[in-house]
Symmetry: C4
Subunit: 197 residues, 4 copies
């Protein structure tokens, strides 16, 4: 899987972090299994679940499958979900522990997002606090999902991105991570309180 | 295309960012199409336009084709134009939002530029504000183009570099990006106002 | 050896730094020899020593073999030890020269470690001062080894990680290094005394 | 040439920067030619000069050939010289414009250098000011060359490293660059005057 190797090459899925899924034509979801290196996927690294998240074989899906399922429910046009972990997303969401979203503006890359025609638009990416309770995480994120949204962040954890297909989702991930790297650098001089240290 | 893979390897063309062109012996311009990964170009990733920017087939050229055309008009010896996006160029041009150019001096790499024989020379790279109106961008940059110039920056957006051929343009891009990475590090201690945050 | 190439790709074993070992089914330890590039291991790059660290051929094992032996002694379930050098581990352990351990919390990656079920747990990684006397280093680290421990740091030198097999040890190394990269960034604003400069 | 690809992979020879040489058994020096990418050397990328720096064919050797020749003269055991350009070496030597050498201590890597048995030793790497006059550069560096020295820096320009063979020189380059990356990070909080900005 070429896209997964690209993501691993950026170090956005170290160890066994991250999980990726696509919605198949029959409505089943193919999703990566837990506990494998996401940059080196083989034929047994992916399993299928139904639209409710129930496995079609005996394997137990990743706990975070629920978050993928919720995105497919909300976005009928969405056929690919990528969840990655990067140093920039981890650091930014922890450093600004008081923020409920990250506002990105003045980036040419914003034009990749639906409804945005100019770099001067504002893209708000929600940040939700991390939890090991996927029902709780899902309940926090669901009310925030708006039609043009394509990305959210989990604090100290990582990024979710979704789109019409895997190539577009991978490109949105690259665009968001590029902007996060810029924000990390641009915000360095700021002396905002660092709440979580 | 080897040079495009090198640029992508540096993460200077994430998502579908960037566009590259060459002037062909017959005066037509071969330029990358919009909406494709610039690190993985195939035979259909490039189209041709005439010296006025009009496509030779039914495809619509990238909006930024106009900026390439203007460079070929001004520089008869120019046969290759590279437009890349890097974190360093984005951050530096936004952090110093009041600057109309970036002055580079005391770099051995300066000797790669025409008319420069010593690291102690000063290279001024113009910075123009970003716009979605290519005619407006072009009108801003045209009066600044001087005979020995080989690079300009668009604020929060990226870098344009041009040269006699694609290998030389790729090397100038590497040289400018190296110096921008140094500047980002050298200027970190400065407490200049950060106008755009 | 795929895992060694991954580690070298992250620049965690520059020059001839680092050494890696596995415990073989017969109880012997296969360990990399000194003075070779750890990212490019060949058939002669590994030698075997017995459980006491004595070579099974005429070659002299690396001085740090003793530290590997001690880990295999303390952890009967441990079959792989990785010792790497990174910029982040070197800088963090030197910058906080007064710290005897680094506390990692609020990272999703913590769940890879035994006994940890939530990102909100605290993982304490011991830091011991560097020494060229391996007996002294070993005497310092031995009393600190607790059952669930999988990593320690040597100040200004590098990281030791151990696990059930080489793949798991490589993943723990990736997880620790990811968190160290985050800590380096998160702690940058702090004005703690820098004792070793 | 494997070693040159390793150096290019670290971005220590962007554009056509850097030059590499070896002393052949017959006393001639094989040295890379100017104006080529040092990460992609072909059969025509290397020329030979005699012990006085005079080309054995019609090609004009790189101006910096003189600096290689001087090292071979001073160090009869030296058979390989590497000259690289990195962001870290450029930034550190410019930021500390008043320093005539960089002192490295408390690094495990110091043990790779002749005469050093412990991380607690001090390695002094001379820094000389950049010049386009190779005779002048050579005259500045010659009196500083001591028997155990294996590296010097040219301010805002790059690093020279030499050793018994190319593999050892490449490893010393990796060790010095690793320590420079650490120094860049460790010295960030210091508020020394930045003389050259």
């Amino acid at each position: 899987m070429k896209n997964s190797a690209v993501l691993a090459g950026h170090n956005w899925a170290p160890a066994t972090a991250g999980n990726y899924s696509i919605r198949l034509p029959d409505g089943l979801i193919a999703i990566t299994v837990s506990g494998e290196d996401k940059g080196d996927l083989g034929p047994h690294s992916v399993m299928t679940v139904d639209a409710g998240g129930k496995a079609t074989d005996h394997r137990k899906p990743s706990a975070e499958t629920l978050l993928h399922i919720k995105l497919y429910e909300h976005y009928p046009g969405c056929h690919a979900v990528l969840h990655t972990h990067s140093v920039a997303s981890t650091v930014l969401t922890r450093r600004y522990a008081q923020l409920s979203h990250l506002t990105l503006t003045d980036y040419e890359f914003l034009k990749l997002f639906p409804g945005i025609a100019s770099h001067s638009a504002k893209l708000e990416i929600p940040i939700i606090d991390n939890s090991q309770d996927m029902q709780a995480l899902s309940a926090k994120i669901s009310p925030l999902l708006s039609p043009d949204m394509r990305a959210y962040l989990i604090r100290g954890h990582g990024l979710y991105v979704w789109s019409e297909n895997m190539t577009l989702a991978r490109r949105l991930t690259e665009a968001v991570e590029f902007m996060l790297s810029c924000e990390l650098e641009l915000r360095r001089e700021r002396n905002e309180p660092i709440a979580d240290l």
